[in-house]
Symmetry: C2
Subunit: 231 residues, 2 copies
DNA sequence: GACAGAATAAAACACATGTTTGAATTATGC
DNA sequence: GCATAATTCAAACATGTGTTTTATTCTGTC
């Protein structure tokens, strides 16, 4: 099990990452994986112990680091705060670092979309690991941060607010990925871009535009729903 | 082709609706459908012309009506408006009538989630019909309504706002369906309900709570981002 | 009651799937 | 340089898929 670069194992992981992200778990066959990675079909079961395990490795490799950077980014905001952390900064930290997973490499956004889909799909509980290892910690940190920023909020309020923020993040990721996956000549794609030109912009522009919008939208919403009482 | 009640055809449609909604298109086999509907496997291809067509019929039967009620509900708000329609009423009409699709019958929410998933999944462009026949008209009406309510908004602003609203709707639907599909003893489910007790409430309570939250959240956001200039 | 056409049924078809096998090849340690 | 382990490979395996075929039963009409 020497982890040489470009070994069969890593080639398989790379191919799996791209294929799974583009097509989803069920839609990719072991033979597809083997063909793209240029390895034998048996390699999947030899190096990982089945297709499902390979999938989990793909996720672990890319997504767990993401969790850490998100938490770190949030922690930094909290540390820099004088008395009360700023609500907009908190939301921006969460949204931004989540979306920036899309920028780390080509296809990063597809990976984020893959996770989103797998979490949303209620077909199988088999990939539920993400939820516990990944979502729960971020949720807890996000929640604590918002309570610190707005002490008058009840926990229940915070949960509603977070849900609204997360829903927006997911939606914009899905839109982008869907748009990217369509043929440039497809008129559904044209329709989407006409309504949302930023879907066709370079990924970094998209990320910053979306981050900005969600932050401003959500901050305004919180301010409107729960006006801050200045002490 | 006599459309008797309880005919093979309708039994197949009913079984398909439930199975597809619970498990998704690819996860349901023709043999599953036949078994639940208590018909022969060949019936799927005899009455519909293949599994995919059956799926489309399921959607058409349930979702196209939904589109009409949503548009009607929005039209009513616009007609009742004195000078400018009220923003909150518009948002409530859209969100409410979309979510109320969950109440029309047992499993209605699952159908909504099914549509959401199929639209989100970029694996195949094969179910794209929904987008053109269903989403586009609602989007256009929603957009026009918001412009009427806030004439100072640019079309681009409206598109962003709508995306934020739709993202929230999808997210709450997904949460509820995911929660419902989990075993009552599952601790992920417990975790979700702890943070969001309404996920465990009766469906009508859930729908009204979510409708209320999204409406207030989004209205506050729009008001905060684009303060209305009183004439 | 006989007969066409629609509906159902059991079986088979053709193919794709994840996984396993067992031999051939390559790498490793001494 | 050789024995031993690790890896690769082609082939086969077992199973599940959507669909088609062919025969049989049901149904309505004259």
């Amino acid at each position: 099990m020497t982890d040489d670069k470009q070994s069969t194992k890593t080639r398989l992981l790379d191919a799996a990452e791209k294929l799974f992200a583009d097509n989803g778990f069920d839609e990719v066959s072991v033979r597809d994986l083997a063909a793209v990675a240029d390895v034998n079909v048996a390699a999947v079961n030899y190096h990982f112990q089945g297709k499902e395990n390979l999938f989990h490795e793909v996720i672990r490799r890319r997504f767990m680091g993401q969790k850490d950077t998100t938490l770190a980014s949030l922690a930094e905001v909290m540390a820099r705060a004088e008395e009360r952390p700023e609500l907009a900064a908190i939301i921006r930290a969460i949204v931004g670092s989540y979306l920036e997973g899309a920028l780390v490499q080509d296809g990063g956004m597809r990976i984020m979309a893959l996770i989103t889909r797998e979490m949303h799909s209620n077909y199988n509980t088999r990939h539920m690991v993400f939820f516990k290892e990944m979502i729960a910690p971020i949720f807890a940190a996000f929640s604590a941060a918002m309570l610190a920023a707005r002490p008058s909020l009840r926990q229940e309020d915070v949960n509603w607010l977070i849900a609204s923020v997360v829903g927006q993040i997911h939606h914009f990721i899905m839109r982008r990925v869907k748009c990217d996956s369509l043929d440039p000549a497809d008129d559904t794609r044209s329709f989407m871009i006409l309504a949302f030109p930023v879907l066709d912009a370079p990924m970094d522009e998209f990320v910053s535009a979306v981050t900005d919008h969600i932050t401003r939208f959500s901050t305004a919403a919180v301010d409107g729903m729960h006006p801050e009482v200045t002490p």
